[in-house]
């Protein structure tokens, strides 16, 4: 009886508690097994592309490619001026060198995942699958190429990270290049010539990248490996592919570039149209409107951005547009707006850069020769804040005198001494009257005008300082760290508000213009100097195009004549031409690293030069510092994962 009662209670107990199911049900969570399905594989490749936004759209991409070069020096704002001066802040803890490392390796792991899992995925069109694998390999090659150029020997994981590991070691530069070349050669046959979805990797993109990789490797002596054999887990082989040499690399690079030039791409007729929509009456010295066609015929591969809700993460936009803008919004008549941008004033062109272009045909500054200066810089700001601030008191009496709206051929820039009856004038400020929207408020003529002209104008004029460091840095009216030609290629007037940093413009990583430059450099390296020159002639003649203005035919001849172009070219000249063609296109530091023309930093960027208080030291700074957290978190620390020399 008693037993029965206990039994009953026991039974009740067991019934009440039942059995609790301790297995987790995955409802709102998706796990890595998804990658082994067709939809999951597609998602992983899409996820692989997303890494590009992480790095290229941010300050880091600008900081590691433009700062501290012969062309770009620092402005007055920003916490990272040491990246230009190479002072002590440029160290292993500098976030600008940690971020690309983390971001590229995250992308590499995604690529590795795709490459590893794709073969087992069933139910997919084989051609599509092959293309997706090739895209992942293309992206992996792109990531490794950036890493090896910046950091030298880097870890080379080729499999999906499984389980937690703090093991890592640096692989010799040659084996990294071998892998990059291998990935691209694998990818090329499977990539389509054009993709129905613009922005995905194509054959042309892979050829272009391979051309640049081979060109870069061709210069590489692998001396570092030879001098530091104890550095690596497995000894370096100092090798290219079998039978490859520096000479064959140059030749192969040219061949790859030529195949792109022969492909479905064409140079835009006018240089400015690559980056900017046609300016209309404002002229090319004005800001850059977002072009309606960001997939124009010259673009081979670009990082895709958008402002479409749902397709970008807040904070994941393209924020390059803020980096190299001059201070304008403190001037009378000006307030911050989307067109002119949010001026971070991080960087500015060096004197050397400003003098790089043959901007006018003559010393009277009346006819533009090389349109690339105005395709690169903004020189004029129009009042956008009516009734905020009167005109300068010292300005002349008559409205509309002294300024003429530009027409085709003049580059659209203000010129002086034009009659007030000129119908082409843009309204201008009357002395003592408030600015009216559309008045010229700030003008940077790009040449000396003298104090008299500056003071007579009813708008602010900033003229170049012709030496660096500028002896009269404090004189109002000269370029200084606050005011300088504004980089317009990145400008983005289509953001929701003027402080918004999430721009929607694509970043052009590869375009046909650069393919010509790669081909020229490869041809020169392979000993074909006339061949090299021919590529540059094509680019220079395109640069002389001014939308069919009267001078165009003459300019196309002029820009390559004996006074404007040397009869024989050398590597220095190609670097100059690269500066003219590619200013601000996220390549310059890498160009100097590839060619080892570091003397240009010393000669042309006075803020970096030791002569003027800078700290540039080629032996140390030809590589970027390995991020300290990579070393700290790796088992064995500095012993297992040595820092680059000097950091």
């Amino acid at each position: 009886m008693k037993n029965l009662r206990f039994l009953l209670w026991g039974l009740a107990l067991a019934t009440l508690t039942g059995c609790v199911d301790l297995d987790e049900q995955l409802v709102g969570t998706v796990t890595t097994t998804y990658f082994s399905t067709p939809a999951g594989l597609e998602a992983a490749v899409d996820g692989d592309y997303a890494q590009l936004r992480d790095f290229f759209g941010r300050e880091e991409s600008f900081a590691v490619t433009e700062f501290g070069t012969d062309l770009t020096s620092n402005g007055d704002q920003g916490a990272y001026q040491f990246e230009n001066t190479y002072a002590a802040g440029l160290n292993a803890s500098d976030g600008h060198y940690q971020f690309p490392w983390t971001s590229f390796y995250r992308g590499i792991n995604t690529s590795n995942t795709v490459v590893a899992r794709a073969p087992a995925v069933t139910g997919m069109d084989p051609a599509v699958k092959a293309s997706r694998i090739a895209e992942a390999k293309f992206l992996r090659a792109l990531s490794y190429f950036w890493l090896v150029q910046m950091y030298g020997p880097v870890p080379l994981p080729l499999t999906e990270s499984q389980g937690a590991s703090n093991q890592a070691h640096r692989s010799p530069v040659d084996s990294v290049y071998l892998q990059i070349v291998q990935d691209l050669r694998d990818a090329i046959p499977d990539l389509p010539a054009t993709q129905s979805q613009f922005g995905r990797a194509t054959k042309g993109a892979a050829h272009h990248l391979l051309a640049k990789v081979l060109l870069t490797r061709a210069y590489h002596p692998f001396a570092y490996e030879a001098a530091n054999t104890g550095f690596y887990l497995s000894g370096p082989t100092f090798q290219r592919e079998a039978s490859a040499t520096a000479a064959t690399d140059f030749a192969a690079a040219r061949a790859e570039a030529d195949s792109v030039i022969a492909g479905p791409y064409a140079l835009m007729p006018n240089y400015v149209d690559v980056y900017c929509a046609p300016m209309g009456a404002r002229g090319p010295g004005s800001y850059c409107n977002v072009p309606s066609n960001e997939s124009n015929s010259e673009i081979i591969f670009s990082v895709q951005f958008t402002t479409t809700a749902g397709q970008f993460n807040v904070g994941g936009g393209n924020s390059l547009f803020v980096q190299m803008l001059s201070f304008y919004d403190d001037r009378q008549g000006m307030t911050r707006d989307c067109n002119n941008g949010r001026a971070f004033r991080r960087a500015r062109p060096t004197l050397f850069a400003r003098n790089l272009w043959q901007r006018w045909t003559d010393s009277t500054y009346s006819t533009v020769l090389d349109t690339r200066y105005d395709g690169t810089f903004q020189s004029v700001w129009y009042a956008n804040a009516s009734n905020t601030g009167a005109c300068f008191a010292s300005q002349g009496a008559a409205r509309m005198s002294g300024y003429r709206g530009g027409s085709c051929g003049s580059g659209g820039l203000p010129t002086f001494g034009v009659a007030s009856s000129d119908t082409a004038t843009v309204p201008n400020c009357t002395n003592g009257q408030p600015f009216v929207a559309g008045d010229t408020a700030i003008f940077q003529p790009g040449h000396l005008v003298g104090q008299a002209v500056r003071q007579a104008a009813k708008y602010a004029i900033y003229e170049p300082c012709v030496t660096e460091p500028c002896p009269n840095q404090t004189t109002v009216g000269q370029y200084d760290i606050f005011r300088f030609p504004t980089m317009k290629k990145w400008q983005d007037d289509a953001r929701p508000d003027f402080n918004n940093l999430d721009g929607g413009r694509d970043i052009i990583l590869m375009r046909l213009g650069e393919t010509y430059l790669i081909a020229a450099e490869a041809a020169l390296g392979a000993g074909d100097e006339p061949g090299a020159l021919a590529y540059l002639v094509t680019l220079r003649q395109r640069a002389a195009n001014c939308r069919g203005c009267p001078a165009e035919a003459a300019n196309r001849a002029l820009i390559v004549d004996a006074t404007h172009m040397p009869a024989t070219i050398d590597l220095e000249y190609i670097m100059d031409e690269r500066g003219r063609e590619m200013y601000g296109e996220l390549t310059r530091w890498l160009d100097l690293a590839r060619t080892s023309l570091w003397h240009r930093v010393v000669d042309d960027n006075w803020q970096a030069s030791q002569l003027h208080g800078g700290f540039f030291n080629e032996a140390k700074h030809h590589l970027r510092p390995i991020p300290q957290n990579q070393i700290d978190l790796t088992a064995g620390g500095t012993q297992a994962f040595p820092q680059n020399p000097g950091y």
């Binding site: 209670w9 107990l13 009440l16 508690t17 301790l22 987790e24 709102g28 969570t29 796990t31 597609e42 992983a44 899409d46 996820g47 592309y49 997303a50 890494q51 936004r53 916490a79 001026q81 040491f82 002072a87 002590a88 802040g89 160290n91 803890s93 976030g95 390796y105 995250r106 792991n109 995604t110 590795n112 880097v154 870890p155 990270s161 937690a164 703090n166 890592a168 993709q195 922005g199 895709q304 951005f305 479409t308 809700a309 749902g310 397709q311 994941g316 919004d329 403190d330 949010r342 760290i481 508000d497 402080n499 957290n629 990579q630 070393i631 700290d632 978190l633 790796t634 088992a635 620390g637």
Partner: protein, 1058 residues
């Protein structure tokens, strides 16, 4: 059996023959003079016992005549034994005044799944008395135990805005990922959620279980300590059909405890000029200052201007502009009713606080129903608390960020002819008070930025207990916890957010719904066999938690008054987000409490726990514990030590486990990515978390030895514990080398140890005999040392995670990446050496630096500052927590005073780091900074004219030349005071805080009765009135960010009994 009964009856009959008397009296609280209902009064050495009624009265009949020892006791109070002569003829009167006591050697104490005589405990348990709880004017029960219990560390949860939860740790921390919060158990039922919604007014007592033996019954949930809360209920033994009502009210005013010394207008003028000069820029007024700033600059510096503009403004004190006098009130009404076997308590309370920061406040409405009924062998009870709390947060940190960073030369209002523009009838609030595009007007923020968090929670405990006979009982506990949290955020069109005037209203609403429950079934048995006493418990319990979240947001809302209640009208709806998280625990537990001869105590516990959060094969684990106690004071040989009134030795050992990690961690997860391929969407996934199916239970093996003692008739009593806890298979989020493609992984990564001792000592300094003053002092000291024993990745330090063998655990290195805990940090950084002086220019240059820059030590002397020069600079773990509580009653007055200290830690004064960037844009702390003129050692401070041969040391000795670096325009972060290093910011930490001062007066019953009150006490109180610290920011316990300052509260209140 039948024979035994006969014998017993005969014995009773024999006793009856003796002369017998009657004892009557009352039991009251010595501090409040309020009657204590339900107290137990026992005539020692007999079986005569009684409980007090609601008036605190008791009657014991049939007491054998003679001198008898009579003891009264109640939960939360020290028991009192008095001797009385019982006379058979006349009744005897004996009144007790019980003193609430955290340390008591006798009396009932709540333990896991039951109560025990404190003298029978083998575990380490600390208590908080109702009086101590009542003393703290708060809506959060955990503030009430702050500084009360040795071994328990309670600090503000990172901010001092009203209503913020507290951060509680018991005996240091063991774990990181698995959470360090203790388990809260209300009336025997574990709470699924936090404690902050619980109404402190309903609490009778709080017990903190600290060691393995005491916490073992709660298994994994209790591995970080258990806080047991016992609510007030109608007490047994109350006459039928009585109702007791009481009402407490208080009102307080609040003001900031401490404001920081930011630069004012004239100081900013000087700093800006120095910054421009250091950057090689022109220093004239027109170059350095904007036209809007110039009037303030001239007012500060130009005598002629001052004469022409009397009363002109030199700038704005932004801190004071966002402050106000806070107010706080609390009302609480409770009703207790007894009818037959049923007992009912209703409590309602209302708490309302208007914070000292504009736009901040907290309101809490709380109601508790507690009901219990006994029907024959079945006892059922339920306690349900419903709470609604509304926290108005406003712009909060953003507001304070603006108030601190805004340049004082800016003015908040468009002046419109009002020179000082502090009050303004016709003018309007400026959008941006200064030309800096990132700085906005904090007053404007306050105007249009609404953020409100509401929390609705219904939780409680229900039980049914059936006496099965023969000492067996079966009990079911069910504790449901249903919570809804809403976080609404609205930024009106005039608000500037993230530096951007948004120009169109936007709003977001996040909802969290959590349903959790615990279900425990217990079978207990009590048995006595001569000198042996058994108390056996078997339990099967489950716990489950189900949380869903939804977030919706929209931009471009058409009108400004809708807050977050009509998001569909927004032109630009944002993608909604939602999530689901479910976890479960199941446990089997058995416990035996065994007592031999009332002196030798043994507790054995075994527990088998299963967790859904681990992968199959690792879900279940077994955790045993043992506790031993010896009432050595009761041994005959101790009689010769007459001064020892009580002495008990305790020892316990055991293992507990923890899996409080987020669910689904073993599976790995993917991160959603956003991209577009031309016009098409390319939304993808990439690997986000590494799957780790090998995670196992984190286990902590604990050893505790303790002694409870009373000396000189308990004039000095206390308890001292020493303990060691070894945690293995620490569940930790570990950072990985980025080359893996991942940043971190959750792992069982190593072993840590906590070692420490705790002492709680109570002294009765004045006994309070014959109406004299009674003064008691509670002293509590806690020392805990946490350190890493080994790491799974090997014996080597893990520098990247800042985990060093022999140093405490570091939780996170980046405040932006969870997990991160500002109070659990180990600092590994460069050693600060001061400032590079002019005489050192050449050396500085070798390091890429210049005079006026921060100098750090080149440890390895390689003429470069590299990662190899970093050293351990200290940690945030205090070496000693101390609190001193004094309580004095004299006649009708009572006074108490609570002082708390956190001593012996290193702080990273991140507040001063952030506020001493010394560039031209944002405001700075008013510090003595380096300038070349001042620090050159020459006679004229305005020009560089140092005498030849002046050394760097001589320059550094000039006041203000070796503490803060040179201002410099355009340089946002001085090197080594930047996101990568806080070298100058580490300094010895240690502070004392006066938590509470209370003065009370209990009105005589005649006066109270005049108002028809049964009792009336009025009091005045100062909460957190002072803090003594060298910290530069608002409060050393508030974290380092620009958050609302801590505040002091001055309160008056009354306790009324009807």
């Amino acid at each position: 059996m039948r024979h035994g009964l006969l014998v017993l009856t005969a014995l009773c009959a024999a006793l009856r023959l003796q002369a017998q008397g009657r004892i009557t009296g009352t039991v009251t609280d010595s501090a409040t003079a309020r009657p204590i209902a339900g107290a137990t009064v026992v005539v020692l050495g007999t079986n005569r016992t009684a409980a007090t009624n609601t008036s605190g009265a008791y009657v014991i009949t049939d007491v054998p005549a003679g001198t008898r020892q009579v003891r009264a006791r109640f939960v939360g109070y020290a028991s009192v034994t008095q001797s009385v002569a019982v006379d058979a003829a006349s009744g005897t009167t004996l009144d007790f005044r019980l003193v609430a006591a955290p340390i008591q050697l006798e009396g009932l104490v709540v333990v896991g799944y039951g109560t025990q005589e404190r003298r029978d405990l083998t575990g380490s348990i600390g208590s908080v008395t109702p009086q101590q709880i009542a003393e703290v004017p708060t809506s959060n029960p955990m503030q009430a135990i702050q500084a009360r219990v040795a071994g328990v560390d309670v600090v503000a949860g990172g901010s001092y805005r009203p209503g913020i939860p507290m951060n509680v740790t018991v005996r240091g921390i063991r774990s990181i990922a698995a959470g360090n919060g203790p388990l809260y158990v209300v009336d025997g039922v574990p709470l699924a959620g936090g404690i902050e919604d619980f109404n402190p007014a309903t609490i009778q007592s709080i017990e903190v279980l600290k060691d393995a033996s005491a916490t073992a019954v709660y298994g994994s949930r209790g591995s970080n300590g258990v806080i047991l809360i016992t609510t007030r209920r109608g007490a047994a033994g109350v006459p039928d059909n009585t109702i007791r009502v009481s009402y407490d009210a208080q009102y307080g005013a609040q003001s900031a405890l401490n404001l920081v010394d930011m630069m004012n207008g004239p100081e900013t003028v000087a700093e800006r000029r120095a910054a421009a000069e250091a950057a090689g820029r022109p220093t004239g007024n027109a170059s350095v200052f904007t036209p809007d700033e110039l009037p303030q600059v001239l007012c500060a510096t130009d005598a002629a201007y001052q004469a022409a503009h009397p009363g002109c403004s030199t700038g704005t004190d932004w801190q004071r502009s966002v402050l106000r006098t806070g107010a706080q009130q609390r009302h609480q009404l409770s009703l207790t009713s007894v009818a037959g076997a049923s007992r009912l308590t209703l409590t309602g309370s209302y708490f309302d606080q208007d914070g000292i920061t504009l736009g901040q406040g907290y309101r809490q409405y709380s109601g508790t129903v507690s009901f219990e009924n006994t029907y024959q062998r079945l006892r059922v009870g339920i306690t349900v608390t419903g709470t609604r709390s509304v926290a108005d947060i406003g712009p909060d940190a953003q507001l304070w960020g603006e108030a601190l960073a805004n340049n004082p030369l800016g003015l908040p209002y468009d002046s419109a002819g009002v020179p000082s523009a502090t009050a303004c009838g016709v003018c309007t609030l400026k959008l941006k008070p200064t030309p800096d595009p990132l700085r906005v007007n904090p007053l404007r923020e306050e105007d249009g930025f609404v953020r409100q968090q509401t929390r609705d929670r219904l939780f409680g405990a229900a039980f049914a207990e059936l006496q099965l006979g023969r000492g067996f009982a079966y009990r079911v506990n069910f504790g449901p916890d249903l919570g809804n949290r809403m976080d609404g955020q609205f930024q009106g069109a005039n608000v500037v957010f993230n530096g951007t005037p948004i120009g169109n209203a936007q709003a977001q609403r996040a909802d969290v719904e959590e349903f959790a429950y615990t279900l425990d079934q217990l079978l207990t048995w009590n048995g006595n066999l001569r000198n042996h006493r058994f108390d056996v418990t078997a339990l099967y319990g489950i716990q489950s938690d189900n949380t869903t979240t939804d977030t919706v947001a929209a931009q471009n809302l058409p009108y400004d008054s809708q807050l977050w209640y009509n998001l569909g009208t927004g032109e630009n709806p944002q993608p909604p987000r939602s999530s689901l998280s479910v976890w479960k625990l199941a446990s089997y537990m058995g416990r035996i409490n065994y007592t031999f001869k009332n002196r030798y105590l043994l507790t054995l516990t075994g527990r088998y726990d299963g967790s859904s959060r681990l992968a199959a094969g690792h879900k279940w684990s077994f955790f045993p514990s043992i506790g031993l106690g010896w009432q050595i004071g009761d041994e005959p040989f101790m009689r010769r030590f007459g001064f020892v009134s009580a002495l008990k030795l305790r020892a316990s050992a055991g293992t507990t486990g923890n899996t409080s990690i987020a669910p689904y961690q073993t599976w790995g997860g993917l991160d959603r990515t956003r991209y577009n391929c031309g016009a098409a969407a390319c939304l993808g996934y990439r690997p986000g978390q590494i799957p780790n199916p090998d995670l196992v239970w984190e286990r902590t093996a604990q050893l505790d030895v303790g002694v409870d003692f009373g000396l000189f008739h308990d004039r000095i009593s206390g308890t001292v514990d020493g303990y060691r806890q070894r945690t293995s298979d620490l569940l930790l989020s570990r950072s990985l080398p980025p080359s893996t493609g991942f940043t971190q992984v959750l792992q069982n990564v190593g072993k840590t140890e906590n070692r420490g001792w705790e002492a709680s000592i109570t002294t009765v300094n004045l006994p309070g005999r014959e109406g004299g003053p009674r003064w008691t002092t509670d002293l509590s000291l806690t020392h805990n040392r946490n350190f890493i024993v080994s790491l799974a990745s090997g014996a080597a330090d893990d520098i990247g995670n800042r985990w060093f063998i022999g140093e405490p655990i570091n939780i996170g290195t980046n405040p932006a990446i969870p997990p991160y805990d500002a109070l659990r940090q180990v600092f590994y950084d460069y050693e600060y050496m001061g400032i590079w002086q002019l005489a050192d220019s050449a050396v500085a240059r070798r390091y890429g630096q210049k005079p006026g820059d921060i100098r750090v030590r080149d440890i390895n002397g390689d003429s470069a500052i590299t990662a190899a020069d970093r050293v351990i600079r200290g940690n945030t773990y205090p070496k000693l927590l101390a609190s001193i509580y004094n309580h004095l009653t004299w006649g009708r007055f009572d006074v108490s005073f609570l002082l708390q200290g956190r001593l012996g830690y290193t702080m990273n004064d991140a507040f001063s780091s952030a506020a001493t960037k010394l560039f031209e844009r944002f405001n700075n702390l008013n510090v003595q900074y380096w300038t070349p003129e001042k620090c050159d050692g020459g006679p004229d401070p305005t020009k560089l004219d140092g005498p030849p041969g002046i050394t760097a040391a001589q320059e550094a000795a000039i006041p203000g030349c070796n503490s803060y670096w040179s201002p410099s325009a355009g340089r946002e972060n001085p090197l080594y005071n930047d996101p990568n290093s806080a070298s100058p910011a580490y300094r010895p930490g240690g502070h004392w805080r006066v938590r509470n001062i209370t003065v009370g007066y209990t009105l005589p019953a005649s006066v109270a009765g005049h108002f028809r009150f049964a009792s009336l006490r009025i009091y005045a109180q100062a909460q957190d009135p002072f803090v003594f610290t060298s910290y530069y920011g608002y409060d050393p316990e508030a974290g380092s960010a620009a958050t609302p300052p801590s505040y002091r509260t001055l309160i008056i209140g009354a306790n009324v009994g009807f």
